[in-house]
């Protein structure tokens, strides 16, 4: 599948944390994705951009934290993450970037 511009709008950045590194050992890669992105869109974008086969995608929506600044309440924006499970034999080196 060829790479389309909209694929870049879906995948925002890789998540590099201790948790994500340990997840990569079981063939899972974690990304920050657009809040409006669906699992199907994510699967399509990942397969196009990284040239891998995706088994399935789990997503999670994380509510932004409520923060107080000078007595007023503010809210950080919500974000969506996708845990992408790859088919055995495929891998993504997130550290090298897109």
């Amino acid at each position: 599948m060829s790479v389309k511009l909209r694929h870049y709008d879906v995948i925002l950045s890789p998540v590099i944390t201790e948790k994500s590194t340990s997840a990569s050992e079981s063939g899972q890669v974690i990304f920050n994705v657009a809040r409006s992105a669906t699992k199907a869109q994510i699967k399509e974008a990942i397969e196009a951009l990284f040239e891998v086969k995706v088994k399935f995608v789990n997503t999670l929506l994380c509510k932004g934290k409520v923060k107080r600044f000078r007595g007023r309440f503010g809210r950080r924006s919500d974000f969506k993450r996708a845990v992408v499970t790859l088919i055995d034999g495929y891998s993504i080196d997130v550290t090298t970037g897109l």
Partner: protein
């Protein structure tokens, strides 16, 4: 690590060192794992960051560090494998290699660099106990002693108070009170009570002493003196000052006779004891002269015996240091400094000859010292430091701090001590033939040869402890 010899010309060597990619990689990882414990990366607890991620973040920095330590290690190993002694720190040429560094990582190729250095020449030490060296011994004659005694008498001439009413003449010592007025006001340093003044000694401004000739005890004088234009105190230079002087006492010089009384006035019990003291002082001076000449003769002999090549870089640095010293001397004398380029060919080759001698003797002496385990102890160093400090009265603390904070300055101090010890050792070996000569002969022999008397450049000595550690 592999080493290839590229050039071997005289004392010059150039080698190429190849470090395999695996070694390089291993070194980088070693540095990264050291880093791992220390850095905080968002998303990870301290010490939990995977190496691959660290490498992405800190790769370039760590690469430089790894390269540094690799260079240090491999260059040392390479030299050890050549089994040669270096004349100075090797030059490592990375100009081509650094550009390759990126490629080394990307394409996993081996990394190589060039290293050039000069080795110390090999030479055999001769058996010094077979050497014969002439020592110049100066005998002390009775006349020498008398001569310096008279000098002492001259400078300790007693003065005898003159009869009241007698007139002062040149050479007399006066005790006066004086008061100077500039524009009717006294000025700083312009008054004095009970001051002694020797007429004709020239200790006071010109014109002042002249006014005090032909006066009698107890007389009061007032006169005007013009200060010289170049008087150090600005406010007084070229000014006319009125002086009021009261003459308290006039005493005339008396003849001194060399007898026990004279000796007693100098704090000795009798004339014989004084003579003994003078004699021992002279003999001390002569001893040091004859030692210098002996040292010189030893070095001359050694120069005749040894004629190996000296490392060109050492030679060059020695020539430069001599040249600097000459320049410094000239500057102090106020002479015009010739440009280094316009220096006559003859002088240049003269300096080169001296430098070669210095380096060669330095090498020989340091080798002798090394082979015979001659070391400079802390005590001796302290003594040398003390002597050095005593040369700058009033600045003791500063000088001490200077040496405390500058290990290189201290090792510069070490060099002459080391040299002395080695020379002492050699002199205890060689046969010396005494020859009695006059003082001026020795002086002639030593004259103008300061350069030849200091053979050991600190650079060589500095390396000695280093080599032992390895």
């Amino acid at each position: 690590m592999q080493v290839f010899e590229k050039l071997s010309d005289g004392l010059k060597r150039e080698i190429q060192v190849v470090i395999p990619y695996e070694d390089f990689n291993c070194e980088i990882n070693k540095h990264l794992s050291e880093l791992k414990e220390r850095v905080h990366v968002p998303g990870f607890r301290a010490g939990k960051v995977p190496i691959s991620h660290l490498r992405r973040l800190y790769g370039p920095q760590v690469m430089k560090k790894a390269l540094d330590s690799l260079l240090k290690e491999t260059s040392r190993n390479a030299i050890e494998s050549c089994c040669e002694k270096l004349a100075f720190q090797p030059q490592i040429d990375l100009s081509d290699s650094v550009q390759d560094l990126e490629m080394v990582i990307r394409d996993r190729i081996d990394f190589s660099y060039l290293m050039s250095f000069e080795i110390l020449p090999e030479f055999e030490l001769i058996d010094f106990s077979k050497l014969e060296i002439m020592r110049m011994v100066i005998s002390i004659s009775e006349e020498n002693v008398l001569e310096s005694l008279e000098h002492i008498a001259e400078s300790n001439r007693p003065y005898i108070k003159k009869e009241p009413g007698s007139v002062s003449i040149r050479g007399d010592r006066l005790i006066i009170d004086f008061k100077g007025m500039l524009d009717g006001k006294p000025f700083e340093g312009g008054t004095g009570d009970n001051v002694s003044l020797i007429l004709g000694a020239g200790d006071y401004i010109s014109g002042f002493e002249e006014k005090l000739v032909n006066v009698i005890t107890g007389s009061d004088l007032s006169f005007t003196v013009t200060f010289p234009d170049d008087y150090p105190v600005r406010a007084l230079a070229g000014q006319e000052v009125d002086f009021m002087v009261h003459v308290r006492e006039i005493s005339g010089p008396s003849e001194t006779t060399l007898n026990d009384d004279f000796a007693k006035s100098l704090g000795f019990e009798s004339l014989d004891l004084l003579k003994e003291a003078v004699r021992s002082q002279i003999s001390k001076e002569y001893d040091s002269l004859s030692r210098q000449s002996l040292k010189r003769a030893l070095f001359d002999k050694m120069e005749e015996i040894y004629s190996f090549d000296v490392p060109p870089t050492l030679l060059q640095s020695e020539v430069t240091s001599i040249w600097k010293q000459v320049q410094h001397d000239m500057e102090e004398k106020g002479e015009k400094i010739e440009d280094g380029c316009s220096l006559e060919e003859e002088t240049r080759s003269e300096y080169k000859r001296i430098a070669e001698r210095r380096v060669r003797l330095g090498l020989v002496l340091s080798k002798i010292g090394e082979l015979n385990g001659i070391k400079v102890t802390d005590n001796e160093l302290k003594k040398a430091l003390g002597n050095q400090i005593r040369q700058y009265p009033g600045h003791e603390e500063e000088i001490f701090q200077h040496y405390k904070n500058n290990p290189s300055a201290l090792s510069g101090l070490q060099a002459p001590v080391f040299e002395e010890k080695v020379v002492d050792y050699l002199l205890s070996l060689v046969k010396t033939i005494d020859r009695i000569v006059e003082r001026h002969e020795v002086l002639n022999y030593l004259e103008g040869e300061d350069f030849l008397l200091q053979p050991l450049d600190p650079q060589v000595v500095k390396k000695l402890p280093k080599r032992k550690k390895q």
